[in-house]
Symmetry: C2
DNA sequence: AGCATTGCCTACCAAGTGGTAGAAAGTAGA
DNA sequence: TCTACTTTCTACCACTTGGTAGGCAATGCT
């Protein structure tokens, strides 16, 4: 694999797990078996490296979501498939969601850029939700708030691995499936209208 | 106010907003108008300071929650009052929840200690939920997972201020009330059994 | 062969990190 | 007033931080 890609991946993991400030270029280089200066050759500053990881993470997430969209029917099915897709991502590459959370804590300017990249997705989601509400397939409510609620629920469920471990909750694949199931029930009862 | 308390508060804010690694004792001291060595007099190490802030944050949160418990009826009312109470805390002292989230990212040993302090609360909550489920006042489900889901929902809704701001969502008190309302609807539809 | 480019390196550096040693200044009781 | 104690300070230290300057080997083009 290209060195620049190896750096990108290792940085994503490190930033996502230990935070931006908690990650030094030296430790990153040590882990990769190279010198810090090689990192600075591919990414001129630490912040540039951060930006690259964030852009990549957003791209991967956006791809996963749009994949779920194309392979799903309208209504609840689409939401379920999107949640499943995000959970799969959270299992395969937990660092991606961890990084995005870290970005939201870092604030501007990184967050500003990230949000700009992400905005079309949010806009698309709210527009779709609106039309679904008009069709009566989703409970009537503020679509913007709904997207944000869903974001925090999924993000929380997907990234609190550390916390769960400390509490002593098992983290086997089966348990993750259970949590996802519980979350889906949660969302479904809140979003799908009760049949009259 | 006592210097040690001023330090504690400033540290809670700083750790919660900029993270543990993103906060230096020097910057903290500068903000307080004292020297770094004065901080180290009251709290022998940076980690000791962190532990103190976490212990304090947990105490405040636990107090708020137990207050909500004593002033509420069983069933949905209790959950609603607890959510309202936590939201009030998130508005008055957002740094407290920010700090707790930071702790869950830092992992051991800080997280281990924090969880130990928090465990009785979780145990109490799950026990109560179980009895409520038995009574049919709350929808039957895994109480442990339920507590965790609620935790991440509330935490997310209460601490994503940065993100909302970047997206351009208004943050007036009225908007916060709206978000809380939406969250409560969310929880209610998921937790309260449909009357037959 | 000559030459430019790429990629990684060694050698440094100024600034900032958490922390120690110990002096100075206030404070209260005898 | 003397003394003991608490609190804050100056001075300093070893170490780590992100970043610069420039060398050196490999690669490919003419």
């Amino acid at each position: 694999m290209k060195t620049s890609d190896r750096i990108l991946i290792a940085a994503t993991v490190a930033f996502g797990e230990n935070g931006y400030d908690g990650t030094s270029l030296d430790s990153l280089a040590l882990e990769l078996g190279i010198r810090k200066q090689s990192i600075l050759y591919h990414y001129p500053t630490k912040e540039a490296l951060l930006d690259a990881t964030v852009a990549d993470a957003i791209e991967v997430l956006a791809l996963a979501l749009s994949d779920a969209v194309t392979k799903s029917e309208d209504g609840w099915d689409r939401i379920e498939k999107m949640v499943r897709r995000v959970f799969r991502l959270a299992i395969q590459r937990p660092e991606l969601l961890g990084l995005l959370r870290e970005v939201s804590r870092l604030g501007p300017p990184t967050l500003t850029k990230a949000v700009k990249d992400f905005d079309p997705l949010i806009k698309g989601a709210t527009k779709w939700l609106k039309s679904e509400m008009a069709n009566g397939k989703i409970v009537e409510s503020d679509p913007y708030l709904l997207v944000l609620s869903m974001y925090s629920v999924i993000m929380g469920a997907a990234t609190e691995g550390n916390l769960l471990e400390a509490i002593g909750v098992q983290q086997t694949p089966r348990d993750v499936v259970l949590r996802r199931k519980e979350l889906l029930r949660f969302l479904k009862s809140a979003l799908v209208p009760v049949p009259k």
